[in-house]
């Protein structure tokens, strides 16, 4: 099962196994990972599952859709490597993916 690492803004690391087909957001919620709220439940409507994807992984992800970029406008401190974790679906190719959660989410 792919391993995903979630790092909080203050450096707390949490590596969990997430089944393929789930989103990075769902992997966080199911494992009680701090820093991802996902208030809207994954309908791309709230920007509270915002993560920063580590540089070397960002380009390997499927391309971001306009609606996700629009939603990221609402997120706290979006950066170039920002994504909504509800839109990243775990696959074997993403084994080892590292995401960092922002200082503030809600």
């Amino acid at each position: 099962m792919p391993k995903i690492t979630y790092i909080t803004h203050d450096g707390e690391e949490n590596t969990v196994e997430v089944p393929t087909g789930l989103s990075i957001m769902e992997g966080a919620i199911q494992n009680n990972v701090k820093g991802i709220d996902a208030d809207c439940g994954g309908s791309m409507a709230c920007a509270t599952c915002h993560v920063y994807v580590s540089e070397n992984w960002f380009s390997k992800l499927e391309k971001i859709h306009d609606a996700e970029t629009d939603m990221l406008d609402m997120a706290y401190e979006p950066k170039k490597n920002s994504r909504l974790s509800c839109q990243i679906i775990v696959s074997n190719d993403l084994d080892g993916l590292i995401v960092t959660t922002p200082v503030k989410q809600t």
């Binding site: 439940g41 309908s43 609402m74």
Partner: protein, 337 residues
């Protein structure tokens, strides 16, 4: 103090359908919502997005769903209390008393919490110093545009609110429109107008950049923005308007003594009652084994909750299950002849 059979907290789809399910059983209800209109997340988060899983409705938007639900509950003449948040819930023997932040008081044997993920609040600037200026020179909404005349205003955001207020306030104030990327999200004619204003030197657009700091003691003197390439710029500003949408906060619900599971309220799936008799939770805010956060699940939940509400509101009467197709009583309540 207003007395009713059920107090519904939340005017989203589930709260609205609760009015219906109570209404056809002959129960009166009132609805309280922190927003200024009905619809909840359907209206606030995705009014134009199509929903495909409402039974027998192949496709409808959040706005259409809300409109149809309002139509469906029209016969019950329900009173709505908008822009109000329930702050306190107190027990009074077999009844509950609910107090809002507007000092309205309600009493009923039943409360149905259909509060989604909590009440909507503006997403605030993350800078610490923003707090002390809030309401004085930092605003998250424009209530009275007269207050924004002859100012140096910095507007943050890239969506409709930011663009619309830039257009409107540029008529009598100096505007800096600041956004984290070069593209704005808005209607084509709005974008064209914005471009024209910039070309004519009426407004100044700063992209791609974000707020770095706010300078000033009692009043804001200036702000510093940071561009993507790391460069910073100081901008003379006395007023900040920030439009980063709304977030949901659970708020006082957490303090009512209900059994909680993270941000949700635990209920039994027989009647969606919480650990407090007469307080029910339905829709996204409730949790029980197998819970799905779907609108259709919320409809089912309030249907079952309304039966228990009936038993509590009419203890001397026997509950009779009836179909809307054949019940004369229900048809009367719906105003059908």
């Amino acid at each position: 103090m207003i007395t009713t059979d059920a107090i519904i907290i939340g005017a989203g789809p589930v709260g609205l359908f609760a009015v219906h399910q109570l209404g056809i059983k002959g129960l009166k209800s009132i609805v309280i919502d922190n927003l200024d209109k009905p619809g909840g997340q359907c209206i606030e988060l995705y009014p134009d997005k199509p929903i495909y899983d409402i039974p027998a409705v192949p496709e409808c938007t959040g706005e259409e769903l809300t409109k149809n639900l309002l139509e469906q509950i029209k016969p019950f003449n329900t009173q709505f209390f908008y822009n109000e948040r329930v702050d306190e819930v107190m027990q009074d023997k077999d009844n509950w008393i609910v107090k809002t932040n507007n000092n309205n008081e309600f009493t009923a044997p039943n409360i149905i919490i259909a509060g989604g993920v909590g009440s909507f609040e503006p997403r605030k600037l993350s800078l610490k110093e923003a707090e002390k200026f809030e309401g004085k020179s930092i605003f998250y909404a424009v209530k009275n545009k007269e207050a924004f005349k002859n100012k140096n205003i910095s507007i943050f955001g890239g969506g409709d609110s930011a663009l619309d207020w830039t257009l409107e306030l540029s008529k009598f104030s100096k505007i800096n429109l600041i956004h984290r990327r070069d593209e704005f999200r808005g209607a084509p004619h709005t974008l064209a107008e914005i471009k024209k204003l910039e070309k004519d030197g009426k407004i100044s657009i700063k992209t791609p950049c974000q707020l770095e700091s706010i300078e000033g003691d009692k009043d804001i003197a200036s702000i510093t923005i940071k561009f993507e390439d790391g460069k910073t710029e100081k901008i003379k500003t006395d007023t900040i308007l920030s439009f980063f949408g709304l977030i949901m906060k659970l708020g006082p619900i957490a303090e009512w003594g209900l059994n909680m599971n993270k941000k949700t309220i635990e209920v039994n799936s027989e009647n969606f009652q919480t650990n407090k008799k007469g307080i029910f939770a339905a829709g996204d805010i409730c949790s029980y084994p197998g819970k799905l956060k779907l609108i259709l699940s919320g409809f089912h939940e309030v249907a079952l909750a309304s039966v228990e509400c009936f038993k509590r509101a009419r203890p001397e009467e026997k509950y009779r299950f009836e179909f809307t197709t054949s019940s004369k009583t229900i048809q009367d309540r719906l105003g059908k002849k």
